[in-house]
Structure formats: C-alpha cells, structure tokens
Amino acid sequence: MMNMTNTLSEHSEPSIIVRNLTKKFGDFVAVNDITFEVKKGEIFGFLGANGAGKTTAIKMLCGLLYPTSGEAYIAGYNAFTQGKEIRKNIGYMSQRFSLYEDLKVTENIELFGTIYHLPKKILKERMNQIITRLNMESYADDLVRSLPLGQRQKLAFATALVHEPEIIFLDEPTSGVDPLVRREFWNMIYDAASKDVTVFITTHYMDEAEYCDRVCILADGAVQLIGNPEDLKQQLNVHNMDEVFFKFVKR
C-alpha cells in the first residue's frame, strides 16, 4: 500500500476510524485489512472497480454488516457492538434506493424525520427549509415519482440529512443524472461539508474524484492508495484522477 495521507489537523476528532477492518464470506476475503481515518467535514471519495469490495465496506461502516475482524468507529460508535447508534448518526443515499416514489415530497421528508424521531416542530421547520432551498414549493404535494430524476436526487440528499447526521454516505449518487444537475449536486455536497458534515462518497465519474478532499482507491478488497487528489497526481506524475485510477486498477 502506498500511503500518501496528508497529516490531518490534530485537534478535530475523526468521524470515521477504520483499523485493519476485514470481512470474509467463507473463504472469500471481500474486504482485506483496510485502515484509514476520515476527519469531520471532509469529503472522502471511495473509489474502486466493480467488485473491489466498496459496497461490503460501506455496509460495515453503516452498521449493516458485522465485520470479521479489525476495528471501526463511526461517529464515535463501535461498528461491532453499536450498529444501532451508528445508524442513528449517519445519513445514507444511493442511486438505486433513496425515496419512496409512491409518497409525496412532503410525506417522504416526514417519513424520514419520523424514523429518526425528530420532534414535530423541528421536523416541520426542516421540511420548510428543504422545500425552500430546493425551490420545490410548487410540487411539494406531488408524488416523488413525477419529479425529474435530478430533482429527485437532490431531494434524496436533503432528506438523508434531515436528522442532521454527523456523516453522510453517498453511494453513486450522481449516476445517470445530467451534467448540470451533477454539478448542482456537488454544490450541495460542498455546502454540507462546509457545515462540518463528513461526506463519504463513491462514484464512477473521475472528474468528481477531483472534487474530493481525499480519495481512497480499493482493489481486491484492499486499500491501494489514499491521498489528496493533487498530491496523488504529482507523486504519480499524471495529469488527472482518471490516470491515477487506471494505474491502480488495471493490472
């Protein structure tokens, strides 16, 4: 493993601490001894080929899958023993599933707010904030199914943040959306990060890898490379993240 990690600022407690984390399914090692930290408010890109072990790793970090060995602390909670607390303190959004299409915009926000036990008054406030921020006043009472994909993805992002989690996990959130919406989406990511939300994101768009504070490239379940995009490009003497990715994934 090449370690090109920048020294993180010492005073802020990391949001995610992963040490020698491993997951085996029978003889198959899906995640192999991965170690990294993500600090508060950082945008951390988690990259790798299909089948590299990204989804398995994310499931462990979200408290949805019991690790085989190692250590992991998410928002201060232990991934082995405190899955429930972890789930309360994170948000999650993916391209495949994020909102209920048969529910209205407001109903979706209400549902997620209720799941996270938000008091009614606060839920109402946040619902209004979301709808105003996304300029969705005119279709607040429409079914999510009827929204354009881009609006749906932005709403899903805002909804995943409704309980103000410390960390948000985004699994290919921009797959298939148009280039303008993709950029609006990244604006929302920057905005969240500037408010100290830790962003853990996977993507197949290598231009988006450039927008991350740091990226981690996974191959065969193991961390191949971690670092700031600028440093990685310099040290590998390449022009962009696409080339970095190819160097470490194509064998």
């Binding site: 080929a49 797959s175 298939g176 280039p179 197949h204 231009d207 962009n240 993240m241 190819f246």
Partner: protein
Amino acid sequence: MLKIENISKSFKTVKALQNIDFEVNEGELFGLVGPDGAGKTTLFNILVTLTHPDEGKAFVGGFDVGKDYRKIKEIIGYLPGQFSLYADLSCYENLDFFATLYGNTIEENYEIIKPIWRQLEPFKKRRAGKLSGGMKQKLALCCALVHRPLVLFLDEPTTGVDPVSRREFWDILKELKKKNITILVSTPYMDEASLCDRVGLIQDGKMLKIGTPTSIVNDFSGMLFSMRTNDMYRIIKQLSQCNADFTYYPFGQHLHIATPNQEETDKVFNFLEQTGDKKREMKATKPTIEDCFIQLIRGKMK
C-alpha cells in the same frame, strides 16, 4: 441502416419523445447521449419493435417497425438496460439458448463472439446470476451477437460500470465495428460520446443536437476558459457576485467559465482581478461534449 422519421411518443402526460428524426448509416457507431429519463430507452423499444410510436415512422434495415417486426427481430441484436439473461442458467447454457432461438449454433458464428467469449470461457459453467457486473455485460453482449445481427442495439451497457471496465467495453465495440455491424448505443456518460462516429445529444425527449463529436465541439458558441483551482467552492461563491453574462461550473480540477463574447470575458477577468484572484491562470480551452451539453441545456432553459 436505421431511419427514424419524426417519432413522437407520450405516456399519459409525459412526452417521452418529441419529433425525433435521424438516420444511422451502415457500419456506423452512433451514440445516443443523455441523462436518465431523456427518452433513450423508449426510442430503443420502438426500434426493436417492443412498442409503437404515437406519431412518425421508423425503419430498421429497410423494414418498417410497424409492420415488419418479425423480419426486424431476425436482423437485430438487443442488449436491454436491465440484466435480462437467465440467472439460473450457466454462461454456456445462456449462449446456447440464444443461438438456438434464432435457429443457429454457437459454432456457426463463433468467430464474431470469439474475442469476448474467450474472456468468459473460464467461467462458462458458472451461473449467469453469479457473475460480476462487467462479466454479465460481456455475456449479454455475446448472447445479443450470437446470431450475427446486422444492427446491434445497446441500451446503456456501461451505466454503473467502473472506468476500467467501461474502456474495455468500448474496445470491444470498436472491434465489432470493424465487422461492419451497425451499432446504436446509449449512454449517460458524456466522455463516451467522443468514441462514437456520430452522436445525438438527447434530453427530455428532445434531440438537442446531432453530429460528429468534432462538429458538435466546433459548434460551441462563445468563449470557454479554464482555471485551475484547489479552492473551487470559494471561487464559485465569489463568482456568483459577478455581474456579467457568463456561466461557470467545476470541471474536474478546473473551473470552466463560458462567455458569449470578449466584452463579457473582460468583465469576468476584471472582476477576478478586483477580488484578488488575478494571479489565477485563466486559459482559453477547447470545449468537450460535456461543455456543449451544458450549453445546450442552459440555452433551452432561458
């Protein structure tokens, strides 16, 4: 090889396709590039005779999609957006099944699938449902090719596929093109447009532009600049205060700034100078298909 004449199709209130009109020549690799929900799959369904257009006509290999659907089915191969092989059959069984459907044997047309099949051979006894994403796509492509079609329809074959596997898939398409198979392929990835002979940029059921990748890029109007920055978020916030007719958006490690003319360019440059960002290098840059797409959809919103 493909002739699409003024096709429109609606689902209830949604206009899925509006006056789509273009042709694809024999042996051409034509890319339909646009986001999810643009109407790409609806157009594919019409061309492979799974659904009818409300208006307009379409011909595949000279056959009318409305009348000659049996003939069309014989000459086309179709890779749908969703995985549609038999998950419980092995790779070999799937391939054999599709060959038999068309009254062929795998041996007869082995030559055409050989380069792809060879990569799958070590797994030929594995059930299709147990393959990795990239492998599934390769098997599906073999199954769509095993009867040696004249036209290949590939609906988003690379969506959700990692950059390395995507490149491999496009290498395969280049090889197929050499065998004079006409290919219509759809994709939401703008960077794949440059790998096609010609592309149609599509959004909200409307064709925004059709042409070769070079001609589309040449039609970019106004000026485009690129500025390298590690401080994207701050600069973007700052530029939102700038009073000029221009657009700006992040583009990987660069910020792209598009202006209609020199006058507006000067305004932006002066603004950046005033805010102390004058030392930042702004370089004129060549637009990509993605820049063109952004310009086209912005133009439409105005």
